[in-house]
């Protein structure tokens, strides 16, 4: 037989076995009274593309075939019920595989016919924004939600009028800070840093500074500094002319 066979062209050892059986024109059930085992081993041994990765399944099959063949030479042990006859099992596998292989060929015909049928690409459609439908929007649900909020609040807060107001009165307003600065300056100039208390809060600093800028803009205060990084002095009133005072 021709030895120029590549293992890759077979989908596994069952495929190769079927190929050899087909070539020998014998029935599957006669595989073990034929030369198929020897042919199989010869093909695997002399395969041009032999590598262990690819060949491991073929080698396992070769071992099985040799085992079955050698069993036939030994006197048959008394048959036990549960023991599976490896010869019959392999014939069954070959038979089943052959069935599916033929089915695969049938399916390939269907596939070919389906190639004569064409679809089309989806149309490109500009879509409007998605519409959202909301369930369970009832006045009762809305009212109950509000009551739920109210019930979660501590008792002393219960009488709250739900018409919302300012949460917290600002301690510092720009107006009040402007008055503070002006009253401090009414007795004469002061250094900038003395405007603030010893541990000023952020709100105090920000509001006082905004108030100072406002007074500068209105010309009610002016500032001087002799040199960079020197003390900043605040003076009451509008600055007279230019240059350093």
């Amino acid at each position: 037989m021709g030895i120029h066979i590549r293992l890759k062209q077979f989908d596994g050892p069952l495929d190769l076995l079927l190929h050899l059986i087909g070539k020998a024109k014998i029935d599957i059930k006669d595989v073990f009274v034929s030369e198929i085992t020897e042919q199989f081993i010869e093909v695997v041994r002399s395969a041009e593309d032999f590598d262990l990765e690819l060949a491991s399944e073929f080698i396992a099959m070769a071992a099985l075939l040799v085992e079955i063949k050698s069993r036939a030479l030994l006197p048959k042990p008394p048959k036990t019920e549960e023991e599976e006859d490896p010869e019959q099992a392999l014939i069954a596998r070959l038979t089943a595989y052959k069935q599916f292989k033929e089915s695969a060929q049938n399916m390939a015909e269907f596939e070919q016919n389906a190639l004569q049928i064409f679809g089309k690409l989806p149309e490109e459609i500009p879509l409007p924004p998605p519409t959202l439908e909301l369930d369970g929007l009832t006045l009762e649900a809305l009212w109950l939600a509000l009551r739920r909020v109210a019930e979660r609040k501590p008792k002393e807060d219960r009488q709250v009028d739900y018409r919302l107001r300012d949460i917290r009165r600002d301690c510092y307003t720009v107006e009040s800070c402007m008055e503070v600065i002006q009253s401090r300056l009414s007795v004469g100039e002061i250094p900038f840093e003395e405007l603030f208390c010893s541990v000023p809060g952020r709100e105090e600093v920000v509001t006082l500074f905004i108030a100072l800028l406002e007074l500068l803009k209105l010309g009610k205060v002016y500032v001087t500094q002799c040199e960079a990084l020197e003390r900043i002095i605040l003076h009451p009133g509008r600055r007279q002319g230019f240059g350093i005072e």
Binding site: L137, L139, A145, I167
Partner: protein
Amino acid sequence: MELSEAPHAIEAILFVSGEAVAVPELALALGLSEMETMHAVELLQKEYESQTRGIAIRRYGDHLKLETRAEYAPYVERLLQPVQRQTLSQAAMETLAVIAYSQPATKGEVEHVRGVKCDYSVQSLLHKGLIQEVGRKEALGRPILYATTDKFLEHFGIADVRELPPLPQLTGAAQQSDEPPLTP
């Protein structure tokens, strides 16, 4: 090809092409003259029109194209973009209730009443179009003011926010029995 087959061969070609096909090309593919081709096209057009089909053949100069009829566009849109049904989460409903009863309200105010952060539920309500920005509060940070929308009224089936049921009366802790003053 058989002249009687031509209209449906044209239909198949135009269907697969998706784009407009020039009449000379169509004639070449069918092995017919341009006049025979145009005659087949006219037959096909008549067939389409007499049946008010879902698709129609349109002519652009000497190009032909298969297109859907405009009147079926809403169904197509509904398939490609089905209406999403959603319910409001409890958190979103509470936020909506606070805004509805005290509008316009800032996020900070809602958070004060609800006692939790409300960024997510405010975003979600904005996205669903139930509330909208209506300006900024003249306060520190100039926070955004929110109010309910016409879509809100539509969803709740009222013409005006003044139709909202009166505020829950919660004067005592043991006020478990009060029911919403509603006639469902």
